[in-house]
């Protein structure tokens, strides 16, 4: 077995304060990460702007160094040989990749790179450790994912993507009015590619059987394809979650707009996307078969009225400028759109925009900084999600020939595993397979396993 993410946790045994983190790039993202980490980590920050360096030395409890993060000399000045982690967070993708590759060449530090271009992320996902990067965070994709989470599953308390987004795990709270309250699991399970992984009740984790009854107040954890999770969200609280019949309008065909449309398509929505530039609109229309792309200016009132944009349930404004996003969101709200989400590049504007009338503001930089901070804090839990403070864990593993799961139906292989283990989802060559009793897992499949914390230690080696 191999757990896909190397967990650097063991290196933190010396205690938090000794962990040395080098951050290259002291822009909004870099300094925000530094500010979050300076209390618990030893942070060195590198930037090529001397004034910025001076400022940081005074404002934060970090060591700021002036220099070029891609040069070995600068990295050595920053103490690369003793560093546990290098975070490359400049605004330039290529620079960040070179920083990580350089750091890998001269040290064994865990490297994190922030990129905008999703192509790099795809390359990296193909062969992790590509470019010498241990963990890659894609700004545009993360921002889009967080918008879709807001849009798609407001009822969910927590949503974690696995297997490159093919599998989702979501946690929902069941209240009294929910149609699934007081149903058994087999009654509630009306979705093809959905598995009930756990029920959290009064602080205890239960692995549900078909006859387990879901009670109001329970929190259920489901694992499945994004569509089925969406469907389940609708069935659990029909009022809150938008059904896929709901109208979503995305304004602006930026990378973020594109990813929002793509992710919504994956969840079964049929969004409309407005883009002003004819060539970009054509390109988007070719890439998004499930989206209606329209070539128009989003501030053209005639057009908005003719297409009944005001009837939309949700409008996501993902244009390139913050001011335009504000304008479009306010206009949409006046036309009668129920909820508006705006992408805001300048992080401090978020509160301001929300005060003026934008329902939700999403700052890509903030999202990325949060993700990197979370990752650094939790010790590399990219694909290992913790549920309810350590009561259970979700592991994503690649099955090899020695695994007890390989080559036989799940019904048989679970007998050699302790109680409290659920095979939540399988992806084979990036295609989702619903695990059922007779499903045979093949070597090379990626399996998302939900396990009670008490047995995780026993289970992991067997897989």
């Amino acid at each position: 077995m191999h757990i896909r993410t190397r967990s650097p946790t063991e290196r933190y045994d010396r205690g938090w304060s000794n962990v040395r983190v080098i951050i290259v790039g002291a822009g909004q993202v870099g300094s925000s990460i530094a500010a979050d980490l300076d209390a618990t980590h030893e942070v060195v920050i590198v930037d090529c702007d001397p004034e910025r360096v001076d400022e940081l030395n005074y404002s934060l409890d970090v060591l700021a160094i002036h220099g070029d993060g891609t040069s070995v000399d600068t990295l050595e000045d920053a103490g690369i040989e003793r560093a546990d982690m290098v975070i490359a967070s400049t605004d330039d993708d290529e620079t960040n990749i070179v920083v990580c590759a350089t750091a890998k060449a001269v040290s064994s530090a865990f490297t994190i790179a922030r990129v905008k271009n999703t192509e790099y992320l795809r390359t990296w996902q193909h062969s992790e450790k590509a470019f010498g990067i241990d963990f890659m965070v894609c700004t545009n994709l993360l921002a889009a994912e967080s918008i879709v989470r807001v849009v798609g599953l407001p009822a969910a308390r927590d949503v974690d993507p696995f297997a490159g987004g093919e599998v989702q795990m979501a946690e929902f709270e069941v209240d009294d009015d929910s149609p699934v309250a007081n149903q058994t699991v087999s009654e509630a399970d009306r979705f093809d590619s959905l598995t009930f992984a756990a029920i959290l009740r009064n602080g205890a984790v239960t692995i549900p059987r078909g006859d387990t009854i879901i009670r109001p107040g329970d929190r259920v954890v489901v694992i499945g394809s994004p569509q089925s999770v969406q469907g389940f969200a609708t069935s659990i609280s029909p009022d809150e979650s938008p059904g896929t019949a709901e109208e979503v309008v995305i304004v602006g065909g930026s990378e973020i707009g594109y990813h929002v449309a793509r992710l919504l398509e994956e969840r079964g929505f049929k969004p409309r996307l407005l883009e002003q530039d004819p060539e970009r609109a054509r390109e988007l229309a070719e890439q998004l078969p499930g989206t209606i792309v329209m070539e128009s200016d989003a501030t053209d009132i005639d057009f908005l009225e003719r297409e009944y944009i005001g009837d939309a349930d949700l409008l996501v404004s993902a244009l390139d400028s913050d001011e335009k996003n504000l304008l479009v969101s306010l206009l949409a709200a006046r036309l009668g759109v129920e909820r508006t989400v705006a992408v805001i590049d300048t992080t401090p504007y978020v509160d301001l925009f929300e005060a003026v009338g934008v329902d939700v503001g999403v700052s890509p930089r903030e999202v990325v900084a949060e993700e990197i901070t979370r990752f650094t804090r939790e010790g590399g839990a990219e694909n290992v999600a913790l549920i309810e403070s350590d009561k259970a864990e979700v592991l994503e593993i690649e099955v090899d020939a020695d695994s007890v799961l390989a080559g036989r139906p799940i019904r048989e292989s679970v007998t050699s595993l302790p109680e409290g283990v659920v095979v939540g989802a399988i992806t084979r060559q990036r295609e989702f397979i619903t695990p059922r009793g007779d499903t045979v897992i093949e070597p090379g499949d990626h399996v998302v396993v939900f396990a009670d914390s008490s047995v995780v230690g026993d289970v992991a080696p067997k897989l």
């Binding site: 004819p278 054509r282 070719e286 209606i292 329209m294 297409e307």
Partner: protein, 534 residues
């Protein structure tokens, strides 16, 4: 006026193809030796083709093939091989002066126009015939085999074959294949175009051999008494190219039901994109079932066959009284009615066979469908415009073009309601380039215009010589030659022939077959002044 087309380069390559035409001519030569027939028709033709070929090759040393030269080369090649290919028929009817007398002076192919028609019908895999009498009494077995072989050579394409074999064609090869291959654009399967051409011809050859073996094994096991070695080879050579020539006067009706059932899947395969077979053989069988065009193709065949089978089964699909002057008589009709009405297997078989044969533009017939009622015949006429898949050996408009047209029409409807919407037309999830869509519209419109104009021309010319052709017959004659189908209805029905047309009509149809095989544009463009100047 200065010509801006390097016609010498084109003609030089035509010469090369002609020179190598001597090689396939060896096959009927061997057949002639085996049956103890005269080898002269083939020896003389070989001499002519090699001499003309070498002569043309002398025109220039360094042929530089661009897009324009490619069109000229392909169009000329097809005409040149037709001219040369007609020689054996002429020699059979007239003999060679001072050397030998005629073998079969009664052959209708003694008329040079008829010989040209028959050869063009062969190479373009049309299958329309002007033979007065299809039997070994009026034609030697070797001549009849040459007639079959022309279709096999034309099926996958003479130029594609040349690209596969001749290294001098490798650079401009893609250009040339594009001008020749059926369907919009070609799919390069391998980095080298010659290897792609070889892969296509390999699949083609393999399927042909498989069919011959299967047909002959039916004969050996006693399931097809008439399917001897000669017939197995002869029909193997005209199924995969969607040709339709048969040395039997009654076409496939002369063979058992088992033989007819074996031929059906091979006709279906012939109308399939050959690139798909290549994918299947190289370990991607999923591509076959995922292919939108292939699925639509099977769907169309299934739906039309099912309707016609039902109509035949209940008896509405057949006429009840044989009119005078038809290609069938009351006795034949009674036999067919007894065999089909109320019988499941014969109804299904006759329906599928005819539909597959027409949709793929093969042109075989397992019964005289002149005996079908008019509405049923209109169903077949409609099928003549569908055609096989792109990259197959079939003719007519092709499934993929209809598919794109239907989808883009649906898009027009959508954008009428939402003028700002941008909707690419998708083919199997992939967006189709707008220029390609325009090309498809232009081709289809040109095809239909040509069809209507030609119907008028043929109908008038037939009236001039008092042929008594109905409009349906004229329409079917044009659809069958332009679409490289072969048989039409009535006079030109599956058991009839095009012999009674005037020479001018026959020459006109020669041009139609030629344009139909090369999909009109490569031929049409040669007649525009812009092509030759600037």
């Amino acid at each position: 006026m200065k010509l801006r087309v390097d016609y010498k380069a084109s003609l030089r390559l035509v010469g090369t193809v002609l020179k190598y035409l001597a090689v396939p001519l060896c096959f009927p030569l061997v057949v002639a030796l085996y049956y103890g027939e005269s080898v002269l028709p083939f020896v003389v033709t070989m001499a002519v083709t090699v001499l003309v070929g070498i002569g043309l090759e002398r025109l220039t040393d360094e042929p530089d093939i661009g897009a324009r030269e490619g069109f000229l080369m392909v169009a000329t090649t097809w005409f040149a091989v037709t001219l040369v290919g007609a020689i054996p028929f002429l020699i059979e009817a007239h003999g060679v002066p001072f050397v030998t007398s005629a073998i079969h002076p009664e052959s209708t192919l003694g008329n040079p126009v008829n010989a040209l028609f028959e050869t063009m019908s062969g190479f373009t895999t049309t299958g329309a015939t002007v033979l007065g009498d299809i039997s070994f009494d009026t034609h030697t077995r070797s001549i009849m085999m040459w007639r079959q072989l022309t279709q096999w050579l034309g099926g996958m394409g003479i130029v594609v074959l040349a690209v596969a074999i001749l290294p001098e064609l490798s650079v401009g090869g893609a250009q040339l294949m594009d001008a020749e291959a059926p369907g919009p654009g070609i799919e390069k399967l391998t980095p080298r175009i010659a290897e792609t051409a070889r892969a296509l011809w390999g699949a083609y050859l393999g399927l042909t051999v498989l069919e011959i073996v299967l047909l002959y094994s039916l004969h050996v096991t006693g399931n097809a008494p008439n399917m001897d070695v000669y017939n197995a080879i002869a029909h193997g050579l005209t199924t995969m190219p969607t040709g339709g020539f048969s040395p039997e006067a009654r076409s496939i009706e002369a063979f058992s039901a088992a033989a007819q059932w074996v031929i059906i899947p091979f006709m279906v395969a012939a109308g399939t994109n050959f690139a798909l077979f290549w994918h299947v053989l190289t370990g991607e069988p999923k591509r076959l079932v995922r292919d939108t065009e292939f699925k639509s193709y099977l769907g169309i065949i299934g739906v039309i066959s099912a309707i016609l089978a039902a109509v035949l089964f209940v008896g509405d699909g057949l006429v009840s009284v044989a009119p005078a002057g038809e290609t069938y008589d009351q006795f034949y009709l009674e036999g067919v009615r007894t065999a089909l009405i109320g019988n499941v297997e014969p109804s299904i078989r006759q329906s599928i066979f005819q539909v597959v044969s027409i949709v793929t533009t093969t042109g075989y017939a397992s019964m005289d469908f002149n005996a079908w009622s008019a509405p049923t015949q209109y169903g077949l006429l409609f099928a003549m415009f569908i055609g096989g898949s792109a990259g197959s050996t079939g003719g007519a408009i092709k499934i993929v073009r209809w598919y794109v047209i239907l989808k883009s029409l649906r898009r027009e409807l959508f954008t009428t309601a939402h003028p700002e919407a941008i909707r690419p037309v998708r083919l199997a999830g992939r967006a189709v380039d707008e220029r390609a869509i325009r090309g498809i519209y232009a081709f289809t419109l040109l095809y239909l215009v040509l069809f209507f104009v030609s119907t008028g021309v043929l109908h008038l010319d037939a009236a001039r010589i008092d042929l008594g052709l109905s409009v349906l017959e004229s329409m079917s004659a044009v659809a069958a030659t332009l679409g490289n189908v072969g048989p039409g209805f009535g006079l030109v029905g599956p058991m009839g022939s095009y012999l009674d047309f005037s020479n001018s009509s026959k020459l006109y149809m020669v041009i139609l077959m030629w344009m139909g095989r090369l999909e009109i544009l490569p031929v049409f463009v040669l007649f525009t002044p812009e092509y030759w100047r600037r």
